[in-house]
Symmetry: C2
Subunit: 357 residues, 2 copies
C-alpha cells in the first residue's frame, strides 16, 4: 500500500488524533517536501470542527482512515494508552505507522507492536523530535569534540511550574505522567543518540507527586554507566526558578546552559597546576578548596551552534518507507528507553538502585 | 581543671595543630570576650615559627599542653586521623576538648571518644562553624516561615574547581576526602539544625574520583526522609561553573541562591489555577507543561537576611564548661552525621540505596 507516490511525487499521510501534537504533525507534514496530508481524524467533534475551520481534510471514522489505500503512513497522536490498539489495527491493515512518543506505556505492549510490524511487513516507528533540539546537539558536539575533556557527569533537566496542565496527561489510565511525557525525550537523547554504545549499569530514581497523586508530576533519575559516567535526568513541574537545561562536567571544563544557548557558558581549565591557593572566607568559615579560580587558569569558550532541521524526521521516514534508509528511531532504541523508564518506576517503588541489563 | 577563670574573667584555651583551621581558631579565640589563647602547639617547626613571628605564645611539646593546669579547653585542629588519639590523651588528663570537624573518621572511633569524655567527666564537642553560615540561616528561615509552602526538596551544593588542594586532605590515611571535609558541614546543617527530628529513610550516594583515586574528591548524596522529603547534598571539586549553593522547592515556590544571598531569588506562586495554557515552542518541539508562568501568577520575594555570629560557638562552649548551657554540638548529633557519612560510603561501594536506622 502506498507504494506509488502521489501525483506531486510526495507520500501521503493521515493523522489520527488532532489535539496539540496532531496539529504539530499537520504543520510538519504540510511544510516538508516529502509528504502530503490527506486528512485527519479525531473522535472529538470539536477537533474535527477545528480542522474544518482550518481547511484541513477530515475522515469521518477511523475505519475510513484504515480503508484509505492512498496512504503511505498513519501518524498516531492520541492519548498514550491508545497508541497500541490504533497502531495494531493500522498495521494489521498493512499501513506503515508512526506513533507520537512515548511509543506506548509498557515493554510488553511495545513487543506486541514490534511483532505486528514484522508479521505485517510494515514500517513502525515513533516521533522523537527532540533529537533535533539545538541545545542537545550543541552539548553533544561539545562532548564529542572533547572541548571539556573526558566527560564524567551529564545532567539534563527540564523544569516547569504549572504541574501537569489539565488533560489526559494527568491520568494513569491514559499513560500520563512526566516520565512518559518528557522523560522519554530526555532518555532517548542520551542513551540512543549521545551515548548509544555505553553500557548502563544501574538506575536510581524517585518520583514526585506534588500536584498529582495518580501519576508522577516529575522525577529524578541517576543512571550509572560503565567507565564511571553518571547521567542525571530530571523533570519537574513545581520549579518556579529553573536550573540550567544542561550541566555537563568534563575533567577539564564545565558546560552549563538553559534552553536558550545564548545564555549558556563553557568554562575550560587552562592550567590545573596552580601555585599555593589562598583560602577564601565564605560565610562563617574559610576554604581553600572552594576558592574561585583566577582568570589566568581558565578560559571561556563559546558554545558551538548546530544547524538542525526537524523536518529530517519526515525525510528519513519517506526514505525508510522506500527501503532507502534505516528508520532513525529503531525498535531497539524504543525498547531501551521503555526498559529504562520501567526500571525507574521499579526503583521508585522499591527504594532501591536497580541493576540494568 | 580550669574551674577558676583567668584574671580577666576569661577562660583559657590552647590550640593543637596550627595550620589553616588552627589559625582560624586563633583569630576566633582572640576576638571573642570569653576565651584567651594561652598558646599553640604544632609538630611542624614552620608552624611554630609562624606563631612566634605573629606573637602567639607556643608550647614546646604536646606534653607541655597536657600539663598546663590553667587550661579550660584544648582545641584540636590537626589532620582528621589525629583527632582521636590527641582528644583521648587530653581527656584522660582531665581536659575539655573541642575537635575540628569531622570529629573523627569512623563511628567506632567516635564511640571511644564519647565513652572517654563520660568516663573522664569532661566536655567533648566539635567545631561545626557552618551552622552560622548566613546563607544556611536564611534558607532555614524561608523554610520555617513557610514562605514557599510545604517543602519537599532541598538541594545543598558546594562546588569548587581546584580538586583537593595539595595537602593531607588528599590522603586516605589522614582521613581526607570531600565527604569528611565538606560533607560533614552540609549534613550537619540539614540533619542536626534544619530538620533535626525528621526520620531518615534511605541514603543513595556516589563518590567522585576525578583528580584523586585515594579519597573522594566529591560526592552526590540523596537522603529520603519521612513525609516525602528529599534532601540532596553534593560536593564537587571539578566544577568550573557553579550551580546555586541552595535550591529548595516548596509546593508554592522555589528558592535559589549562591553563597552570596544578594544574587539569590525566591519566586512564589500566587495563583495555581490559571486559564488555558498556550503551548510554547522550545527547540524542536512544543510544550504546554514547560511554558513559563505569566507575571500575574507569581511574585518575587526578597530573601530574608539573618544576623549570625560565629563567636556564639565559643560563647556556648564557655557556658557549657560552666554547666550553664548544653553544648551546641552534641554527641548524638556527631553520631548521626558520622553514621550518615558511613552509609553514603556503603551506598557508593555497593551501588545500592541503603536503609538508614
Amino acid at each position: 500500500m502506498g507504494a506509488v507516490n502521489g501525483m506531486n511525487g510526495k507520500k501521503n499521510a493521515a493523522i489520527v488524533g488532532f489535539g496539540g501534537m496532531g496539529r504539530w504533525h499537520w504543520h510538519q507534514i504540510t511544510k516538508n517536501e516529502v509528504f502530503d496530508l490527506l486528512g485527519v481524524y479525531d473522535i472529538r467533534p470539536e477537533c474535527i470542527e477545528y480542522a474544518e475551520r482550518k481547511g484541513v481534510a477530515t475522515y469521518s471514522s477511523f475505519e475510513e482512515v484504515l480503508s484509505d489505500k492512498r496512504l503511505d503512513v498513519i501518524v498516531i497522536a492520541t492519548e498514550n494508552d491508545q497508541h497500541k490498539p490504533l497502531a495494531l489495527a493500522a498495521m494489521e491493515r498493512g499501513h506503515n505507522v508512526v506513533t507520537e512518543k512515548p511509543v506506548t506505556v509498557s515493554s510488553a505492549d511495545l513487543d506486541e507492536m514490534i511483532e505486528a510490524s514484522k508479521r505485517c511487513g510494515v514500517l513502525f516507528t515513533t516521533h522523537q523530535n527532540r533529537r533535533w533540539d539545538g541545545d542537545f546537539l550543541s552539548v553533544k558536539k561539545v562532548i564529542e569534540e572533547g572541548l571539556i575533556g573526558r566527560v564524567f557527569n551529564i545532567e539534563s533537566r527540564v523544569q516547569g511550574s504549572r504541574g501537569i496542565p489539565g488533560d489526559w496527561r494527568g491520568k494513569k489510565e491514559h499513560g500520563g505522567g512526566m516520565m512518559l511525557d518528557w522523560g522519554v525525550h530526555l532518555l532517548d537523547q542520551i542513551v540512543n543518540v549521545l551515548l548509544p554504545d555505553r553500557k548502563i549499569e544501574s538506575v536510581y530514581a524517585t518520583m514526585d507527586h506534588i500536584t498529582n497523586s495518580e501519576v508522577d508530576d516529575g522525577f529524578r533519575m541517576t543512571i550509572m554507566m560503565e567507565g564511571g559516567m553518571r547521567v542525571y535526568v530530571e523533570v519537574g513541574t513545581s520549579n518556579f526558578i529553573e536550573l540550567p537545561r544542561w550541566y555537563v562536567q568534563g575533567e577539564n571544563g564545565t558546560v552549563s546552559t538553559p534552553w536558550d544557548l545564548s545564555q549558556g557558558r563553557i568554562v575550560c581549565c587552562t592550567n590545573w597546576e596552580t601555585a599555593e591557593v589562598k583560602p577564601i572566607r565564605t560565610a562563617a568559615g574559610i576554604s581553600k578548596t572552594m576558592a574561585p579560580r583566577t582568570d589566568d587558569t581558565i578560559k571561556e569558550v563559546p558554545i558551538p551552534l548546530i544547524d538542525s532541521d526537524v523536518h529530517d524526521f519526515y525525510r528519513n521516514l519517506a526514505a525508510a518507507i522506500d527501503g532507502k534508509a534505516t528508520q532513525l528511531v529503531t525498535h531497539e532504541q524504543l525498547r531501551k528507553v521503555m526498559k529504562l523508564m520501567e526500571t525507574a518506576f521499579e526503583s521508585d517503588r522499591t527504594g532501591q538502585a536497580i541493576r540494568f541489563n
